[in-house]
């Protein structure tokens, strides 16, 4: 075994020997299952006529734009769940600073770039696993509820499975972004605050605001959350947007590359900012 493959093994062992990953996975599953179940029941109810549009209030006016309900519900896995892999990546990285485990880590492998690369790969894989868990919630619960209303969950469609595959990829890249953020902002508390503030408040606001003019909309497409939605190919956000301008999103592969660029940039800059510094 090369020292790089051993380093990757050690990073997997670090994740597997603490409780964080499954706590995050469990909370994420519950959160997504609840939203996917609840909203698919609401929309499927309206679409199938079980719930009358009048009773659903003003939300009913957007209904025709839904074209297809299942992809929207399934995409909750990443459009809502992406905060969890970011948190996992950031916690795994900032934890090394917080608990001073950088010392034994660098003693066991003094090639620091290699260690950071190994961490990114390990978190990428675990992020993909979180993606699978998130899809179990969004697709599993969503499809069940949609079927219950006698609508087609579209599970036989190739497009649905392409969306599922791209969701796994998006979640994996988000986890790598978390690693990048962790080296960029090694303070654990600051990192968590940034993740929560940015994903839950700042970015949604920016994305929404950017939709009002064409120029800002072009820029808004390059925000990480927008790029992620483009990669996955469907999003509650774009459908809820004024005028339903989903067509203006990046291509899925462009979105993927933009998201990857965020991960690489954060990691490379973070390497210089904190990772290669003195460990005292």
């Amino acid at each position: 075994m090369t020292s790089f493959s051993r380093a990757i093994g050690a990073e997997f062992a670090k994740i597997g020997t603490t409780r964080m990953w499954w706590i995050l996975a469990a909370v994420m599953f519950g959160y997504i299952a609840l939203l996917a179940g609840g909203l698919s029941a609401l929309f499927a109810g309206i679409e199938s006529g079980v719930i009358s549009p009048d009773a659903a209030g003003s939300g009913s006016q957007g209904l025709p734009a839904f074209g297809s309900l299942p992809p929207l519900i399934y995409s909750f896995a990443s459009s809502i769940g992406y905060v969890f892999p970011v948190l996992l990546g950031a916690l795994a990285t900032t934890g090394e600073f917080r608990h001073q485990t950088l010392t034994p880590t660098f003693l066991a492998n003094p090639r620091r770039g290699q260690v950071l690369g190994a961490k990114t790969i390990a978190l990428f894989v675990v992020g993909a696993l979180l993606g699978v868990v998130a899809l179990l919630a969004s697709v599993g619960v969503g499809a069940l509820v949609i079927s219950a209303f006698d609508l087609d969950p579209l599970l036989g469609e190739g497009a649905t499975w392409a969306l599922i595959g791209r969701t796994v990829l998006a979640m994996a890249v988000w986890s790598a972004i978390g690693v990048g953020l962790g080296v960029l902002v090694p303070s654990q508390v600051a990192s968590i605050v940034i993740v929560l503030a940015f994903t839950q408040f700042v970015e949604p606001l920016l994305r929404f605001a950017s939709l009002f003019t064409e120029v800002t909309q072009g820029i808004g497409n390059y925000l990480p959350g927008a790029a992620s939605d483009a990669l996955v190919g469907a999003s509650f956000f774009t459908i809820a947007a004024p005028g339903g301008t989903a067509g203006a999103m990046l291509e899925w592969w462009q979105g993927g590359l933009v998201l990857l660029a965020y991960a690489v940039a954060a990691t490379v800059i973070g390497y210089a900012v904190s990772w290669k510094r003195d460990v005292t």
Partner: protein, 316 residues
């Protein structure tokens, strides 16, 4: 049996911002011996050891193990075992898992984990989360990490901190056994008394600079002799010594004079007709010699500056 290797520091310097933590330090550490690396708090011991281990980048100079820098070692954990003072554990990980992570990184067989836990006496606590460990148990786990790769070189930063008397006794025997097997053992402390029973050589630094190196015995012989003399009429005795040009200061039980032997002082008192109630050569302990060195006194000649002994008695 792993071979010890020579540790060599050459002209190593580290400045943090404007503060010089380690200043142009050069020394070697030989295999088969226990070397104490001593200095008061803030002297630069930890910084020096971290530079040796590639954790802190020297501002200038270099540190090598068997001629190789740490980061260039092909198998670092199998070559050097290091325990640094900071408790570097994830509290949620068990001791066994903590070691397993680094065993994987270093390509060591899992059997080593149980072996080292047994060596440090933590076999019964391997499945316990480290967050619940006592300070002494953490120290032992740090030692277990050190031994994981069965290295020929041991670098231990203040390993005795937090150990109970039984643990201290154990670690002393352990250090000796490691050196007797031919390993290089470098152990830091801010207290000479803590390690004097187990070290062969001492390296003493103060304010980042080397102040003494040699065998433990060399410390004692380098300490300047001192004569304790007292009289019912101390004032008269002081005057006599002053007139004879002898340097001295007032201690709790008499005057401490810088003189090669008791005869000279006795003669001075006799000539001045001063009654002498005590006159003997004061044997300075290792600890006192150590304190004199690190408090910035000239190491080889003259009496210590009074301030260095302010705790021993009031100065003149």
């Amino acid at each position: 049996m792993p071979d010890g290797a020579v540790i060599e520091f050459s002209n190593i310097t580290k400045t943090f911002g404007g503060v010089t933590a380690v200043n142009d330090l050069s020394f070697t550490v030989e295999p088969g011996r226990v070397t104490g690396f001593l200095g008061p708090n803030g002297a630069g011991k930890t910084t020096t050891l971290r530079m040796l281990l590639g954790l802190v980048a020297p501002s200038s100079g270099s540190a090598t193990i068997g001629g190789i820098r740490y980061r260039d070692l092909p198998r670092p954990l199998q070559t050097v075992g290091a325990a640094l003072e900071a408790a570097s554990f994830h509290p949620g990980r068990t001791a066994r898992n903590h070691l397993a992570v680094y065993a994987v990184a270093a390509g060591l067989p899992a059997a080593r984990i149980d072996a080292v836990l047994h060596t440090v006496g933590l076999s019964d606590h391997g499945a316990q989360r480290v967050g619940g460990y006592s300070l002494g148990m953490r120290q032992r786990l740090g030692l277990a990490f050190t031994l994981l790769g069965d290295p020929g070189v041991l670098v231990l930063d203040e390993p005795i901190n937090g150990l109970d008397p039984e643990g201290i006794k154990w670690i002393r025997g352990f250090l000796r056994a490691m050196a007797d097997e031919g390993r290089t053992v470098l152990v830091s402390s801010h207290l000479l008394s803590e390690v004097q029973q187990s070290v062969d050589d001492v390296i003493i630094i103060a304010a980042g600079a080397l102040v003494h190196r040699g065998t433990l015995a060399s410390l004692e012989t380098e300490a300047a002799p001192r004569i304790l003399v007292d009289s019912p009429d101390r004032q008269a005795l002081a005057t006599a010594l002053g007139q004879a040009g002898i340097e001295f200061f007032t201690g709790r039980s008499g005057l401490l004079a810088a003189a090669p032997d008791t005869a000279l002082i006795g003669h001075i008192a006799f000539l001045a007709s001063v009654e002498v109630s005590a006159l003997h050569r004061e044997r300075r302990g290792l600890e006192e010699a150590f304190l004199a060195l690190v408090n910035g006194g000239a190491p080889t000649n003259g009496i210590d500056s009074p301030s260095a002994n302010a705790d021993k008695g009031e100065s003149r």
